[in-house]
Amino acid sequence: MTLQTTLQNKSFSFADVKEVLAKANEEKSGDRLAGIAAGSDLERVAAKTVLSNLLVSDLRENPAVPYEEDEVTRIIQDGVNERIYGELRGWSLAELREWLLDQNTTEAQIKRAAQGMTAEVIAGLCKLMGNLDLVYAAAKLRVTAHCNSTIGERGTLATRLQPNHSTDSVEGITASLFEGLSYGCGDALIGLNPVNDTVASLTQVLRRFDEIKRSFEIPTQICVLGHIGTQIAALKNGAPMDMIFQSIAGSQKGNEAFGFSGDTVREAQALLKRQGTAAGPNVLYFETGQGSELSSGTHCGADQVTMEARCYGFAKAFSPFMVNTVVGFIGPEYLYDSRQVIRAGLEDHFMGKLTGIPMGCDCCYTNHMPADQNDIENLALLLASAGANYIIGVPGGDDIMLNYQTNACHDAAAIREVLGLRPIAAFDAWLERMGITENGKLTDRAGDATIFMRGERS
């Protein structure tokens, strides 16, 4: 294993694989905040060069956090198919990158090879990819999952309808929900971020979601994104629930900071199997985002792309229905501006797909970072081209509870029209029955939320 190189007559050397991975990252303010970023552009490229010559085995044998100390590392390492890894272990990352990009390499071959890769291998590949590489490689891959409907089929772009409200008013939430449905949003999920993380509040909203889902016969999933503990308690208490949500991190300490462990997720999964409202088998919803480990001081000295890849390795073990990188929510100290957010969105989607999880993205930004709506519209289009499973839909893109902006309900409809994509098949048929779309395009009825109040059919 060579950890040094000469570039432009300057020699660069690195202490270990972890340092190579960190310094090979595209520029991110979070890596700088952590004090592990490349000191110059040249050093960054030197690290990429060294990384390209490392073998798959070098990455596998040097996890970001030691096996003995960390549950996430153990879950990832124990999940590797050793036979497939044996075939790959002698490949350099440069070779593996080119094999992935080769047009003769099929989706099935990549999915098989991915069973022999750890998160560090996938993160390493990501760092050797340009933005179009990330789109090109990810576009080969589709990852489907089934809860009540099947997400991730080729030719589809789904949305999570996010009808958040500043005080959890059930009627206010319902108003935003109807608005979103009238634009064709909500096929991946009708999912609320609650203000009040209590069993009573979660149950009240879930009951309304369930009533609406059943009375209009909407083929979709429902979830209220409280803490996993609150959701488990609500489910035990009889609340209707298709999925359970949790934010996850790339280290055991990070998950502990979120207040859960792998066992908690297993408990949720087992409980949903017995008492959930969905057919399954995929009944979990995870959210991630580069920088969350650093923000809780649990990054273990590793860079944020590597930690993000480890989130996906953890997620994979639980066969989720959807994984969402909330890419621009964390703030400019981790992803400074729209350039870094767009890059991170493409990285996360690629890494998630390669890991084998049903990946979508909340293309978003906060008001204290140099970014605006144009930037996330760009990102949404790029990700739809790359085959992302879903994006978010919020009225006007303005989330009045989380105080940030994401895609408007209009955006998915526009992107579907531009790229020739459709909603999830069952939901697509429902939209046509409701007269909201005709041959995949919005009709005159679309955008009128009151059609659900009048109980009208087209």
């Binding site: 500043s166 206010g172 108003a175 009375s215 008001n367 939320a449």
Partner: protein
Amino acid sequence: MTNEALAGQIAAAVLAEMRREAPAPADPVSQKEAQPPGQTASGELMAAMKKSTSARIGVGRAGARLQTRTMLRLRADHAAARDAVLLDVSQGLLDRLQLPALQSCCASQTEFLTRPDLGRCLPEEGRKALQKLQTAPCDVLIFLADGLSSRAIEANAENLLPVLLDGVKAQGLTVGTAFFVRYGRVALMDQVAALTGARVVCVLIGERPGLGSAESMSAYLAYEPRTGMPEANRTVVSNIYSGGLAAVEAGAYIAELIGTIHKAGASGVQLRERGEYDLAIKR
């Protein structure tokens, strides 16, 4: 195929509830939006729905895109939020409130946004200036920081600060000289306490602006804050702005809270554990 009866019941329940509910707090935006053209029949229904939320519903469309007025309104609200982050608190306000101004270790706006650690400390000269300001030990020290919204300070400080100072003094507590910190973060209070020996420190700071409100301010309070203390030991009063907790009301409330914290010798979850939390949740 649709379960018409159940759907009808939901619609009726929703409508009844929406008509009963008080208008949503203060987002002028959705109220100002016109009805989408050609949908007057649903106008009354949509009006009822809009009353239940400040989300931008019923905005209509141009193809699968936003109407021009909606798009411009969003851009205007975002511009206001950006300005709140980027613009400085005016010298005029600091003069009127007689607040001496210090600056955190951040040299620029970019540094403030990317280096939270530097926003939590004062440079050498700032530390000296602070010690010069606070000549005698005090029970309570109050300072303001721009945080992520200068507009929050501009909109609330003048109404809040005099009420707060009077309210604290009326309880017989001694109060140090109030001051302002540019590029300051919440945990700067830890260093302020260490340098001055103040028992209770309160920082009034601009919140990260949303599109609905760029003027929201928070107060963070702590008993003997120290670097490395658990964040949960700070007591927070958030949403101080005209559409949330009004500034004058907030001033009186925070003064009362400071008295409780001083008496209990604890803040945040520790205060709650001591059963003194009734006051803190009554708003």
